[in-house]
C-alpha cells in the first residue's frame, strides 16, 4: 500500500467512526491535499468536516487548538514543516502548555500533520528536517512514520489521544509502496526492531530507515558486519529502553538522521547512551547526519548534503575499522 493511501485510510476510518474528527489545512478539501493525502474525503464528508483554509499557518494551528478545546478532534495539515515556522508560537506557547497550565482540566485532542525532508530539488526553504524543533518541547508528543504500517496505525493512535501530537511524514515516502498489515495493539511509543543483528545497533527514523537498511544489507553481505536496525516511531518520548537493550548486546551505537548533525536528535541519543551505558560501550557512538548547510538546489550538491545508502555504508565501515571491529 502506498504511504499516502495508508494516511488517507487512517483519516477516513477516524472520520467515519467519530463525527468529532475534522480535517483542516491549505487545499485539503476540494483539491484533495497537496500530496493527495486527503483525497476523496471532501466528497465523502463535505466542507464542514474537511475545511479549506487560507494560507495562514499560525491561524490553522490556532484554530485547531480552539476546536480541540471546544470538543472537536481536529487533524490540521501544514503543507510542509518549513511553513510551520510561522505557527511556532501556537505550537510552543499554546499547544504544548495548555493542558499543563490548566492542571489537566483542558483536553487537547489535536494532531498537526506535515511532511519534511529533502525531496528532489525543492531548494533550502522547502527541504528542511526540523523534528528536533518539536521534539525539544515538553508537552508535545512527536510521532513520525517510516512506512505504511506506522503511518496508518501511528496516525490513528495520534487522533485517539487526548494530548497534542505533531505527526511528521516525509515528502519522498508518499509515493512509496510498502507492505501493509493490520497490527493488533500497535504501540507508537515502542521502537521497532526492523532487523536483528549482533555487532552494531543502528537507530534511525523516517526515510533514512530505508537508506540505513540498504547500507546494513551491504555491510552484512560484503563485510560480515551484522547490524541491528531500530526504527523510532515516537521522537518524543523516545523509547530509550529498546535502544539500551540492543546496545547492551552490541556495545556499539550508530544514529542516522537527515537533519544537520549539530544539535539533532542523534546528539540526544548518543548522549543518553553515553550517560546510561558508558561501561557497555566498545566504541564512541557515531552520528551519520546532514551537513551543516542549507540544503542546496543543485541535485549533486543536494545529495552531498544528506546521508545516502553509500555514505552510510562507508561511514559505518570506516568507523568500524578505526575502532577495532
Amino acid at each position: 500500500m502506498l504511504y499516502r493511501d495508508a494516511l488517507n485510510l487512517a483519516l477516513d476510518y477516524a472520520m467515519e467512526h467519530d463525527p468529532r474528527v475534522v480535517v483542516l489545512g491549505e487545499d485539503v478539501g476540494f483539491y484533495g491535499g497537496n500530496y493527495r493525502v486527503t483525497d476523496g474525503l471532501y466528497v465523502k464528508y463535505g466542507p464542514k468536516r474537511v475545511i479549506d483554509t487560507p494560507i495562514a499557518e499560525n491561524s490553522i494551528v490556532g484554530t485547531a487548538i480552539g476546536m480541540a478545546l471546544m470538543g472537536l478532534r481536529p487533524v490540521a495539515e501544514i503543507m510542509t514543516v518549513n511553513f510551520a515556522m510561522l505557527a511556532m508560537d501556537q505550537f510552543v506557547n499554546q499547544m504544548a502548555k495548555l493542558r499543563y497550565m490548566s492542571g489537566g482540566k483542558l483536553f487537547l485532542p489535536l494532531v498537526v500533520r506535515m511532511p519534511q525532508g529533502v525531496a528532489k530539488q525543492l531548494a533550502s526553504q522547502h527541504s528542511q528536517s526540523l523534528e528536533h524543533f518539536f521534539a525539544s518541547v515538553p508537552g508535545l508528543y512527536v510521532f513520525c512514520a517510516s512506512d505504511s504500517i506506522s503511518a496508518y496505525h501511528g496516525l490513528l493512535h495520534a487522533i485517539r489521544m487526548d494530548d497534542p501530537v505533531v505527526f511528521l511524514e516525509h515528502v519522498l515516502l508518499y509515493g512509496m509502496d510498502f507492505p501493509s498489515e493490520y497490527v493488533k495493539n500497535f504501540d507508537p511509543f515502542k521502537a521497532r526492531i526492523l532487523k536483528e543483528g549482533k555487532d552494531i545497533t543502528v537507530v534511525s527514523y523516517l526515510k533514512m530507515v530505508h537508506d540505513t537498511l540498504k547500507a546494513c544489507e551491504w555491510l552484512e553481505e560484503r563485510d560480515g558486519i551484522s547490524c541491528e536496525v531500530i526504527d523510532l516511531i515516537s521522537l518524543r518520548p523516545i523509547d530509550f529502553e529498546t535502544i539500551y537493550e540492543s546496545v547492551r548486546k552490541t556495545h556499539r551505537l550508530v544514529v542516522v538522521y537527515e537533519a544537520p548533525k549539530t544539535l539533532g536528535l542523534g546528539a540526544e541519543l548518543s548522549a543518553r547512551i553515553s550517560e546510561e551505558l558508558f561501561y557497555y560501550l566498545d566504541a564512541p557512538p557515531l552520528r551519520i547526519a546532514g551537513e551543516e548547510v542549507p540544503i542546496p538546489y543543485n541535485r549533486k550538491l543536494e545529495l552531498m548534503a544528506i546521508p545516502t545508502p553509500e555514505k552510510i555504508y562507508e561511514r559505518i565501515l570506516s568507523w568500524s575499522k578505526s575502532h577495532g571491529l
Binding site: 528532489k120 530539488q121 519522498l172 509515493g175 512509496m176 509502496d177 530505508h210 540498504k214 551491504w218 553481505e221 560484503r222 556495545h251 558508558f278 561501561y279 557497555y280 560501550l281 566498545d282 566504541a283 541535485r299 545508502p309 553509500e310 555504508y313 562507508e314 565501515l317 570506516s318 575499522k321 578505526s322 575502532h323 577495532g324 571491529l325
Partner: protein, 425 residues
C-alpha cells in the same frame, strides 16, 4: 536469450541466465568480468556462471553498454531470469544528462549494487594510542577474564586502545591451538562454552575431540554446490518411472589390462550397441523424443567424497585407446574441479562400475535426464559378471530393454568383434 522489457527504453536488452544444459535449472554468478557502465563487444565474456558441476563463461550476444547488474556475485537465480540490463548500440562517448524528474513521479527504491569501498576506507587504520587505553566495555571484559591490559599492551600482545574483539581474539590464541580453533568453527561451538569447561587450560585438538566425543556433538560437513546439484537431480531421478533387469554376463573373452580397463571396454561395447537401439540415444521431452545420432556414454567417477558424471562423446567413432585416454583426462579434470559443462552433458546412458571393490551386484539410480544406467558388479573367476540395468520406462519398455541386454550379451562373446576392437586399439 532475450526479451524486451515492458516499460524499459526500446534499446534496453535483458541478459538472461542461460540454460547451459538440459537439466540445468539454476545458475550461480561466480564473477562479473564487466561492471556497470562497461562497453562490451558481441562475443565478449561478461561473467562466469556456475551450474550443476562446472563453471562456464557467459558471452554477450549483443554489443552495447552494461547499464545495470541485477544479480550480484555469489547469488543464484533460476534459468531465464534477467541478470543484467544492457543498452544496445555503439560505444557511448558522452554520458547522457539525467532527465529531470517529474513532480509526481513515483520514487523507486533502487536495487543498487553496493559501492566499492573507496581506497581511503581500504587503507583505514585503526586508531593507535600509547599503552593504557581501552574501550569501557573492553575494560569490563578484561576484568572478568582476569587479563592485565596494560601489561599485555606494553608487551605488544594487545593493541591500544583495546576493543572487545581484540580480547576475544586474544582469548582464542591463549586457550586454543590453531587446530582446535579450526575444529571449534567446524563444530559450531561457542568459545565461552569450552572455556567454561576447561578453565585456564590450553585446548588442543585431542582435548577438543575428547570433549565432543564425550558430549556426542555431531560434526557439520558442508555440502558442496556440485553435490547439491547432484543430490537434487537424484531426488528428481526417483520420480522417473523405472524398472530393473538383472543379468549375468560372461566377460571372460575381454582382454582388459591396466592400460585399457574393463570399464573402458564396456564403454566401447555399450556405445557400439547403442547404435542399434535409437531409444537408448533418446531424451524424453513432454510430447516427443530427441534422438542423438551418436552414442554418448556417461561414467560415474568418484573423486574424494564427490561423485562426478562426465561424458565420453561419440563412443561409436572412437577406438578403445582414445576412450581410455579421454576417461583419464576427464578424471584429471574432475580432480582439479575443472570439468566444463560440455564435459558433463549430453549422455543418455551411464555406466557405474563397482566391481573393483568386490561388489557382486547392485542397482543404480538413473542420472536425471538420461534413460539408462548399467551397474557393473565384480568379475568372478570364470569371467561371470552381474550387471543390473535400470531403464526409464517412458522411453524404453521391457521389450526394448530385453533386446538391448540380449544384444550386449552376444557382443561380449563375439570373438571377431572383440579381436577387431583390440586391433583398433
Amino acid at each position: 536469450m532475450s526479451v524486451y522489457l515492458a516499460g524499459a527504453k526500446a534499446m534496453d536488452y535483458e541478459v538472461l541466465m542461460p540454460q547451459f544444459s538440459d537439466t540445468m535449472e539454476r545458475g550461480k554468478i561466480v564473477r562479473w568480468l564487466k561492471k556497470e557502465g562497461d562497453y562490451v563487444e558481441k562475443g565478449e565474456v561478461i561473467a562466469e556462471i556456475e551450474a550443476e558441476k562446472a563453471v562456464m563463461e557467459l558471452q554477450s550476444f549483443k554489443k552495447g553498454t552494461i547499464k545495470r547488474i541485477l544479480v550480484s556475485e555469489g547469488q543464484e537465480v533460476e534459468v531465464g531470469k534477467p541478470i543484467a540490463i544492457m543498452e544496445l548500440g555503439e560505444r557511448i562517448e558522452k554520458p547522457k544528462l539525467e532527465e529531470k524528474p517529474k513532480l509526481e513521479e513515483k520514487p523507486k527504491v533502487e536495487e543498487r549494487k553496493p559501492p566499492p569501498p573507496p581506497k581511503e576506507i581500504e587503507k583505514e587504520k585503526r586508531i593507535e594510542l600509547p599503552p593504557g587505553f581501552a574501550s569501557p566495555y573492553a575494560r569490563l571484559l578484561a576484568k572478568e577474564k582476569g587479563i592485565d591490559l596494560k601489561e599485555l599492551q606494553e608487551e605488544g600482545r594487545l593493541p591500544s586502545p583495546t576493543h572487545a574483539k581484540d580480547i576475544e581474539e586474544f582469548e582464542k590464541e591463549r586457550y586454543f591451538t590453531p587446530k582446535a580453533l579450526e575444529l571449534l568453527r567446524e563444530y559450531e561451538l561457542s568459545l565461552e562454552e569450552l572455556l567454561k569447561e576447561f578453565p585456564n587450560k590450553k585446548i588442543d585438538e585431542d582435548l577438543f575431540l575428547a570433549y565432543v566425543e564425550q558430549k556426542g556433538i555431531p560434526r557439520r560437513v558442508p555440502v558442496s554446490s556440485v553435490q547439491k546439484s547432484l543430490i537434487s537431480n537424484l531426488s528428481k531421478s526417483f520420480v522417473i518411472p523405472h524398472y530393473h533387469m538383472y543379468e549375468v554376463f560372461d566377460l571372460s573373452l575381454i582382454p582388459w589390462d591396466k592400460e585399457i580397463t574393463l570399464t573402458h571396454w564396456l564403454v566401447k561395447i555399450v556405445g557400439d550397441a547403442m547404435q542399434f537401439f535409437e531409444r537408448l540415444r533418446a531424451v524424453y521431452k513432454e510430447d516427443h523424443y530427441l534422438v542423438y545420432p551418436s552414442s554418448n556414454v556417461g561414467l560415474a567417477i568418484a573423486v574424494g567424497d564427490e561423485l562426478y558424471n562426465p561424458v565420453i562423446k561419440e563412443v561409436n567413432r572412437k577406438s578403445l585407446r582414445e576412450i581410455a585416454q579421454e576417461v583419464r583426462e576427464l578424471r584429471k579434470r574432475a580432480e582439479e574441479g575443472k570439468l566444463s559443462l560440455e564435459d558433463i552433458r549430453g549422455a543418455t546412458l551411464t555406466i557405474s562400475n563397482l566391481g573393483m571393490f568386490g561388489i557382486r551386484a547392485f542397482d543404480a539410480v538413473i542420472p536425471y535426464g538420461q534413460v539408462c544406467i548399467i551397474a557393473v558388479g565384480m568379475q568372478e573367476g570364470d569371467g561371470k559378471t552381474h550387471m543390473t540395468f535400470t531403464f526409464d520406462h517412458r522411453v524404453i519398455n521391457g521389450f526394448h530393454g530385453a533386446l538391448f541386454v540380449k544384444h550386449l550379451k552376444e557382443k561380449v562373446l563375439d570373438k571377431n568383434y572383440i579381436k577387431m576392437l583390440k586391433k583398433g586399439a
